[in-house]
Subunit: 449 residues, 2 copies
């Protein structure tokens, strides 16, 4: 049975009130699949199924739910159930949930939590959103340098169930300073009587609590590690970030780039959960800025009124020329923006990239100009001079758009701004103006001779 | 010392021929960092440093290099060194390298490999590129159901060094059929005399050898597992895919989407490694298609020549109107394309999405139309009728572009085509035509009354 069929089957079981079968079916399912299925049930039915699950499974399913699913569930369970649920979550999941929950519920929950825990949670809630501090968990295994491998294994056996990962264990001194790490693989393979300090690796790659999640995502991609330790300014171990927490971050960061490149203010919400008003709010500002910037192109055209009045035919090529400029420019800017995001392109590469784009522009521009010229002269009734004007404009347009498409994003990045802002929409508006000036200047030179 | 400083220091040590210090510095470095630094040395120096590294480290560094770095290195080492290097790589890395290597080198290497190994490598090289088969490795731990935990641990201790991961172990019967899995964590915590079949989990999420890497990437994001088993059609275990192999895939897939959305044919090469001619080849086809499609807009404008001749002022609003249409449409199409890619939006969501986009269009369109109308009437000398024409066009444009931006990508996906093709560039060209017809029709109705 695939997921869709399973979902239909669950609906059927609910309708026929065969809750016993439902319960036994659900308990054997994968937690991620269950969370996905529950998303399509109404809140009443979804709570009903959720309550049927064995305790351990229900916690797992909960952590796989989307934030909006979680909030909906949290708001429908009893206070006692909520308390139990929260107690069983790993600290990082608990913090995530508290960050999403309505303020009233958070206060209520925190007021009931033991003092020690309240202090800890408050501290976590204070880390900036999207920082290592807010992503990390404190459920890690820490070992002492003097332990033997055997002692370490016994310690892990005793405490491992409560830890988010036991595959990378961190070695700290008595003041919690991070000394090194040892993988469970090394522990399993090592001689039981060796000392941890003799087998640990001291070359630890770590992040600081204030590090931004985008950087951390890049580190996971670069190093391919399971987890990174998070340290404070005194190099004391505060927590760890595991790879499964970062998979979503990587996806979210890419989504953010996609949206910003399409001139949408990024939002943390899922598309399907947002109201039309929220969506409109994220989109209107840029549309407005771009619409008003486009008046520049309007006044450029206005400026050449006399020329256009004489040669109305020039008007009909405007969309093709600005379109080609926009497309060419956004090809280059997209390549460069993505290269900057993955770390392949840096400020130092400015000149080589510009040089490369210029050559690409020369090749592509010449090709397009020739095709365009032949098409206009042989397939349409366009005059030779107009065809020449349009084709020369295309050549200049393509080269210039390629250069701007490379130059602007790298410059933005250098200024500490997000290069994604220089993507398709924005760059198109800039290129439109430049290209129209070129077009009418060439037209003036050729046609008014 | 950060990486840049380290790199400069290495350059300095090479210049002063202090190879001893260089050697001792390099051997303590992280393998991913070393690979990154070596990228900026010329092939002679990079080989020199590479040869100084202890054997184990040099293999690690090699796996972190980019394909073009690897090929360069492979072509400069001696045959004997190449043989040793290849022997020490895990099978999946070896297959990756062979796939990238020039055909001559591959044949030479394969002819020297033992028959058994040659057969295996040939089999791997036959899996379609980007399929689970070509990504997987065969260095996994497989256990038998009748083993005790203690026996399993002894087996892992014995064989673990040669395996890509030991954190997830797979349980197979005598015919290699996949029965279940057990994590090293469970093994460590379990009673030593329990049987594997009693503690293993039977609900294994697996992939088939033919599965595409994009799907596999989504599964890692969804389930958050360390590894997935790969099975053939008879459900026999063929290999495993680990999360570190997929991190790069996820990045590459996102890059591919970015490029396709900017109307660039995706390429496997890194930007900095491609020649201007290659880059131009990936970009020209779409530029050409888009340029020629734009003649439709040209003939629409041509069709309204008389109207334009009478009201030349209409011309100056063309870029603003088509620009706003393009930007609005690409906002919607980007959101929808990304939603389709992350699995949030499906074919079934077509109507809700269209309905949502229509309301967003109504809100944003009304707002933009009003701002535009007020600006034209009060801040410029535009006549009331022209301002009305332009503003009404903007309202219709925004609503229509939102609808098309949602409709086209979902339809593409439904037809089994890549929805990313319906991104900014392409959708802009379609919207341009539609919007110009609306513009001139409204203008005709209002101005020619």
């Amino acid at each position: 049975m695939n997921l869709k069929q399973q979902e239909k089957y669950f609906h059927h079981l609910l309708e026929t009130k065969d809750l016993k079968t439902l319960k036994s079916e659900a308990k054997d399912m994968n937690e991620a699949d269950l969370a996905e299925i529950l998303e399509d049930f109404n809140s009443h039915d979804s709570l009903l199924i959720f309550r049927m699950l064995p305790k351990d499974l229900s916690i797992e399913v909960f952590t796989y739910m989307t934030p909006s699913q979680q909030i909906q569930l949290v708001q429908s369970v009893t206070d006692k159930e909520l308390q139990e649920l929260l107690d069983d979550l790993f600290l990082d999941d608990r913090v995530d949930l508290l960050e999403e929950m309505p303020a009233g519920l958070v206060t209520k929950f925190l007021s009931k939590a033991p003092a020690e825990e309240r202090k800890l949670l408050n501290q976590f809630l204070q880390y900036p959103e999207d920082s290592a501090g807010s992503l990390m968990t404190i459920e890690y295994v820490s070992l002492e340098p003097e332990m033997t491998v055997k002692e370490a294994m016994a310690y892990i056996k005793e405490n491992g169930m409560k830890k988010e990962t036991i595959y990378t264990c961190y070695v700290v001194d008595e003041r919690k300073k991070l000394l090194g790490f040892v993988s469970l693989r090394d522990l399993v393979i090592a001689d039981p009587y060796e000392k941890i300090e003799d087998i640990m690796l001291e070359d630890v790659v770590f992040v600081e609590t204030t590090e931004d999640q985008e950087e951390i995502g890049d580190m996971f991609t670069k190093y391919g590690y399971l987890a990174f330790p998070v340290v404070d300014r005194e190099h004391r171990l505060c927590g760890i970030i595991t790879f499964d927490d970062i998979m979503e971050v990587l996806e979210d960061e890419a989504t953010e780039d996609f949206h910003r490149m399409a001139a949408i203010n990024p939002s943390d919400e899922d598309y399907m959960d947002e109201t039309p008003m929220d969506l409109a709010k994220n989109r209107i500002p840029w549309l407005l800025i771009l619409m008003i910037s486009a008046t520049v192109t309007g006044s450029i055209i206005h400026h050449f009124d006399t020329l256009i009045g004489e040669f109305i035919i020039l008007t009909s090529f405007i969309p093709m020329i600005t379109g080609t400029g926009g497309n060419t420019g956004s090809q280059s800017s997209t390549m460069v923006i993505r290269g900057l995001a993955t770390g392949e392109i840096e400020w130092e590469d400015m000149l080589p990239v510009m040089w490369k784009e210029m050559r690409v522009g020369l090749i592509a521009g010449t090709f397009l100009a020739i095709v365009n010229f032949l098409r206009l002269v042989f397939l349409t009734s366009t005059s030779f001079t107009v065809a020449l004007t349009v084709s020369l404009t295309i050549l200049c347009t393509v080269i210039l758009s390629k250069l701007l498409g490379a130059f602007l994003p790298i410059t933005m990045a250098r200024l500490g701004l997000d290069p994604a802002l220089m993507a398709a929409s924005f760059i198109t508006t800039i290129i439109d103006s430049v290209v129209l000036i070129i077009y009418f200047s060439i037209a003036g030179m050729i046609l008014l001779r």
